[in-house]
């Protein structure tokens, strides 16, 4: 058991439990039918004043039977257009770097408004030289039936060159699965929309990470 595996850790992490079907009450009160709070934590990651290429990300969470999961929440953490993560508390600058979306109860769609992140410094390799990560967002998915939040990454299909060099994508030994992490660009009335479906299980199952 874990106590023998990590005898020198003073404490053990609190165990996870599913967020359940009513996560909206605490995480997105307006969606549950409650009044909106003063500081709503929502799916606009970058306000209009933020520098960078404005993009929309949208998609569905899909279960092992191919059905849309309509009670999931997706959170994002990302760098800005220059590859910098925010260091100030949320709300102190227009670029938050973090966002939360809940799936629509009727359609199942989730979406974010943000700017496309720049390349981020990665870990140094054995030669001591820093690797560079391809532009990406870190995602975290919770819902009823998900006992511990699922971590994944979203890359961009118009960054094929950078993706080919990305140290994390290269970790995915089953090469055919790498595509599950790449969002597909659609131009819609001048807007750049990246479609990213998160498949929890089965055909086309998204790669999930132990981070």
């Amino acid at each position: 058991m874990s106590k023998t595996a990590y005898p020198f850790r003073q404490l053990q992490e609190t165990p996870s439990q599913t967020a359940g079907p009513y996560l909206h009450i605490g995480m997105a009160p307006a969606a549950a039918g409650l009044p909106e709070r003063s500081q709503q934590l929502d799916n606009v990651i970058a306000g209009a004043a933020v520098e960078g290429e404005r993009i929309r990300i949208e998609g569905y969470v899909i279960d092992g039977a191919g059905h849309k999961v309509k009670d999931a929440a997706v959170e994002v953490w990302q760098a800005d257009a220059k590859g910098r993560f925010p260091t100030a508390p949320l709300g102190e600058s227009a670029f938050r770097g973090w966002g939360r979306a809940v799936c629509d109860f009727e359609t199942g769609i989730y979406w974010f408004e943000t700017v496309k992140p720049g390349p981020v410094p990665g870990r140094a390799g054995p030669d001591g030289k820093p690797a560079v990560s391809a532009p990406h967002l870190s995602l975290w998915v919770v819902a009823r039936g998900i006992n511990i939040g699922l971590s994944t990454r979203l890359y961009f299909d118009d960054e094929a060159g950078a993706n080919a060099q990305d140290p994390v994508l290269k970790l995915v030994e089953h090469v055919g699965r790498r595509d599950t992490l790449v969002a597909k660009l659609e131009k819609r009335a001048g807007e750049s929309v990246y479609r990213f479906d998160i498949v929890l299980q089965g055909e086309g199952e998204t790669v999930f990470f132990d981070v």
């Binding site: 009450i25 605490g26 500081q39 092992g64 508390p89 709300g91 870990r123 929890l200 199952e205 990470f209």
Partner: protein, 241 residues
């Protein structure tokens, strides 16, 4: 970005398995492939930070923060404790969001149609921020158990959902707090998705009679542990420079 260290490997043995067939919804919502482990980069070891102004004055008082100003009905309790990391260091400014059913087990949610009534003075939504010592507290009413469609007569033990942010996105955690002595804990398939019984015990808040307010409310103590950072003794490749 100097001074950012990576976190200990998550001990998956203290957590529930993704696939826990007793909890039926997990059957189609659990990945079949193994998770792929990452050496951490800034993407994992940094995360959103929250300041005092993220919280409104009544956000941590679920007895008063909904309705027309009257108090919610039910067993009045304070829930308090510390947010610590695996090195037993306090985690300050940790945002804790909570949600729960009312005293009768009914959620104020557009999709809950359980026959127990809503309480006009109870919303069930709160949040608070840990202080410099990692200490947090909120006030609420003790939620009731409720039935759910798993097996035909499954009932959730009384519980409060908690969503916790530490300093890094990889510390992100959602869990549920249960109450000491509740006999439904041992029958619950969601609880039993955790194989380690010691780990289950750490989700059970303890009655803390010394912290309650005489003639007003009881208190429960619930400490939260987030992942700890590894000290970098020789080199740190994380920052890539």
């Amino acid at each position: 970005m100097a001074g950012i260290d990576e976190f200990y490997q998550r001990d998956r043995d203290v957590h529930p398995a993704a696939y826990a067939p007793g909890y039926k919804t997990s059957v189609t919502r659990s990945p079949r492939f193994a998770l792929i482990s990452l050496a951490q980069s800034l993407s994992e070891a940094t995360g959103p930070l929250f300041g005092e102004d993220a919280i409104a004055p009544l956000d941590n008082d679920l007895i008063r923060n909904y309705g027309g100003g009257g108090d919610a009905i039910g067993e009045r309790i304070i829930v308090h404790g510390r947010v610590l990391d695996e090195n037993a260091r306090p985690v300050p400014n940790a945002l804790i969001e909570v949600w729960q059913a009312n005293a009768g087990g009914r959620y104020r949610h557009v999709r809950d149609n359980y026959l127990a009534p809503l309480d006009p003075n109870f919303g069930g939504c709160g949040r608070c921020l840990s202080d410099a010592n990692g200490y947090y507290f909120f006030r609420t009413i003790r939620p009731g158990p409720y039935p759910w469609r798993n097996r035909i007569n499954d009932w959730r033990p009384a519980h409060i959902h908690l969503s916790i942010f530490g300093d890094a996105f990889c510390q992100r955690l959602i869990t549920q707090l249960y109450f000491e002595g509740d006999p439904l804990i041992r029958t619950c398939p969601i609880v039993n998705a955790i194989a380690d019984k010691d780990a289950v015990e750490r989700l059970v808040a303890r009655l803390d009679q010394s912290a309650g307010v005489p003639l007003d409310c009881l208190a429960y103590r619930f400490d939260i542990v987030l992942r700890g950072r590894r000290q970098t003794l020789f080199e740190n490749k994380l920052q890539g420079a």
